[in-house]
């Protein structure tokens, strides 16, 4: 069963305007790679060069912060909803 990935409009520039996608993969990294295959550049917005979740991006698998479940290696159960939400940050 595929997983659903929800994104805010802030990321739609790399998904061709889509904010709700279906993807497959056993881990978060695989789910992101599946989307990146269709929308090149997506993975670079979510993962850093070493493959971890970028510091100013937050990813949830269902109710859980993916960082608390192993980061990009977190398991993504069939039928899960994954949400990718950029941080809101700045300062003087």
């Amino acid at each position: 069963m595929p997983v659903t990935v929800r994104l805010p409009g802030a990321l739609r520039d790399v998904t061709g305007g889509e904010t709700k996608l279906t993807a497959s993969g056993a881990t978060l990294r695989e789910v992101i790679a599946d989307i990146d295959h269709r929308h090149p550049g997506f993975a670079a917005r979510v993962l850093d060069p070493s493959g971890g979740i970028r510091s100013y991006v937050n990813v949830y698998i269902g109710e859980d912060d993916a960082r608390a479940r192993g980061g990009s290696g977190a398991l993504v159960p069939d039928g899960s909803e994954v949400m990718v939400i950029p941080a809101m940050a700045g300062g003087r």
């Binding site: 929800r6 805010p8 409009g9 802030a10 520039d13 904010t19 100013y56 937050n58 949830y60 912060d65 949400m83 939400i85 950029p86 941080a87 809101m88 940050a89 700045g90 300062g91 003087r92």
Partner: protein, 133 residues
């Protein structure tokens, strides 16, 4: 493009900025398209909140998950500059990741607070008119 911020909500974010000073306050301005209907005060979880802000991701997650159309509901992100102008700093520009939202800045450097709104794109900052209604 403009941003409609009713007087009572403007007063609310100024009050938030004053209560948080000398730290930066932050939050979401929620409503519909360009019209703000409510203020969601958020926690600034940056370790040096006197000069930086990061909105508590749990509050953003809850707002995103509970909204039927978050992109339409998120009118702007606000934060304060306790001692510097109400203009996006290099850090504000570098860390802005919401090009479709407005960014509202409140400066407390003068006795009378200054409030301005902007769009912050990857390579540009554009002021947008801030009106009461």
């Amino acid at each position: 493009m403009r941003l409609v911020l009713p007087r009572n909500l403007r007063d609310e974010i100024v009050a938030h900025a004053r209560e948080a000073a000398p730290q930066e306050c932050c939050g979401l301005l929620l409503g519909e398209d360009e019209v703000v209907r409510r203020v969601l005060r958020c926690r600034n979880v940056h370790p040096t909140p006197e000069t930086r802000y990061v909105i508590d991701q749990a509050q953003v997650f809850d707002a995103f998950r509970e909204s039927r159309d978050f992109d339409r509901e998120l009118v702007a992100i606000y934060h304060s500059h306790p001692r510097s102008p109400a203009y996006p700093s290099p850090t504000d520009r570098a860390e802005a990741q919401w090009p479709e939202a407005g960014y509202v800045l409140i400066s407390l450097r003068a006795e009378s607070p200054e409030i301005y709104a902007y769009r912050i794109g990857e390579k540009s900052v554009r002021e947008i008119p801030l009106v009461e209604e």
